[in-house]
């Protein structure tokens, strides 16, 4: 396989700063991005990508392709937690299986953003509606995960009362989803003119802030790595193989829908990535029986680095093989 894509990805500042963050933890440097800066940076990234997506949605409009892609996105977000749940239940109890399944059914916005920066750099275009897909894929897995828990604990004779209104709020109105959707809408409403006045902020800084944020992600991911001992071999393999499988399914769907190379990569990345913020937060509240170190560590310390280092360029390589230019 042509390794140049992997190398050109690894030689990107964001990926290198991710490594630098990991290295800082390994050599026990006291480097840290003081809170609440990481939270602020992530709000910025959601704001900027959402707004940009909204502005571009005006251009592309809401065509049949858009509708089908968004539909496929939602279906994948429901399907992934279901099929992975049954795989996970082979080794884990219902609670852990459902929580991890939900994590992998949802998405990681930062992985998506890193992929979009990679596309920008290679000059491969993608459409604004993919950001709508990002927004749509964040929440369903939370609901599906919770339904799975309810079904399978009822089976075991335990009854659970669920505060559905709270769950729905957590799923659809948590700060990431809310800010992302809100920014898409505002981008859409203000259109090209709004996009222009905000450009130095949302575009000029974007790559730099992503780079800085990935430095922090490196620190965070590396701190989680020691948790993996407890996680065991099964989950670590899961955290690498399932993303690959999900990306493959995603690419097949993308090919079937006939969407462009850039959009296909982003779709694959959405399918392959796992949530380490929104879903874990929701799971702690709704499935407190599950062990957070399992679902956070796999998503953060294995799947996230795997995707941004190896996954993104590999998925693109596959696209280049199967898509005619």
């Amino acid at each position: 396989m042509d390794a140049s894509l992997i190398i050109s990805n690894i030689l990107n500042p964001p990926v290198l700063f991710f490594f630098l963050g990991m290295t800082a933890v390994f050599v026990k440097s006291d480097l840290e991005i003081p809170p609440p800066a990481p939270k602020l940076l992530s709000l910025y990234l959601l704001f900027a990508i959402g707004f940009k997506g909204g502005v571009e949605l005006v251009k592309s409009g809401i065509t049949q392709e858009v509708v089908f892609t968004l539909l496929a996105a939602v279906l994948m977000a429901c399907f992934v937690p279901i099929y992975t749940f049954f795989i996970l239940k082979l080794k884990l109890d219902v609670y852990d299986a459902a929580a991890i399944a939900a994590t992998y059914g949802s998405i990681s916005a930062v992985t998506f953003i890193t992929a979009s920066a990679f596309l920008n750099e290679l000059g491969i275009p993608f459409d604004g509606y993919m950001i709508a897909a990002l927004a749509l894929m964040e929440s369903p897995a939370i609901i599906v995960g919770l339904i799975l828990v309810n079904l399978f604990t009822v089976e075991q004779g335990k009854s659970r009362e669920v505060a559905w209104s709270e769950v729905l709020r957590d799923a659809f109105l948590n700060s990431s989803v809310f800010l992302l959707v809100g920014s898409v809408l505002i981008g859409f409403l203000t259109g090209e003119h709004g996009g222009k006045v905000l450009e130095p902020f949302t575009q000029g800084l974007f790559y730099g802030i992503l780079t800085f944020f990935l430095l922090d992600m490196g620190l965070v991911a590396a701190k989680r790595i020691k948790d993996l001992q407890k996680t065991g071999f099964f989950l670590i393999s899961f955290a690498i193989l399932i993303p690959i499988l999900n990306a493959a399914i995603g690419l097949a769907i993308a090919k079937f829908l006939g969407i462009s190379q850039g959009n296909a990569l982003l779709f694959a990345v959405l399918c392959a990535s796992a949530s380490y913020i929104a879903v874990p937060a929701a799971m702690r509240l709704t499935v407190p029986e599950a062990n957070p170190s399992l679902y956070v560590s796999t998503a953060l310390a294995v799947t996230f680095p795997f995707n941004i280092i190896v996954g993104i360029p590999v998925y693109l390589y596959v696209i280049k093989l199967f898509w005619s230019q």
Partner: protein
Amino acid sequence: MHLVKKIEIIANSFELGKILDRLDKSGVHGHIVIRNVAGKGLRGTAEDLDMTMLDNVYIIAFSTPEQIKPVVENIRPLLNKFGGTCYISDVMEISSVKCVASM
């Protein structure tokens, strides 16, 4: 000066809303919340998600001695379900216009 009780609760920030609700229901209407508290759990696990974006919170509330019973009854189920710990101690309050005991 008169005796009041100090309630200290350490929990993950995702529980904050629920805990404050319960405090309020127990008749303890005032509190302070310190956020972005770093921590390590009892069992040495880094179960807390503070490394991603869910930090711990440290809640302090002063109440009259009589309010302690309902507080304990209301808070304990939460702690058992979602984790977190709660401590109670004696402090003297300086009487002032706004003091707990003037209520």
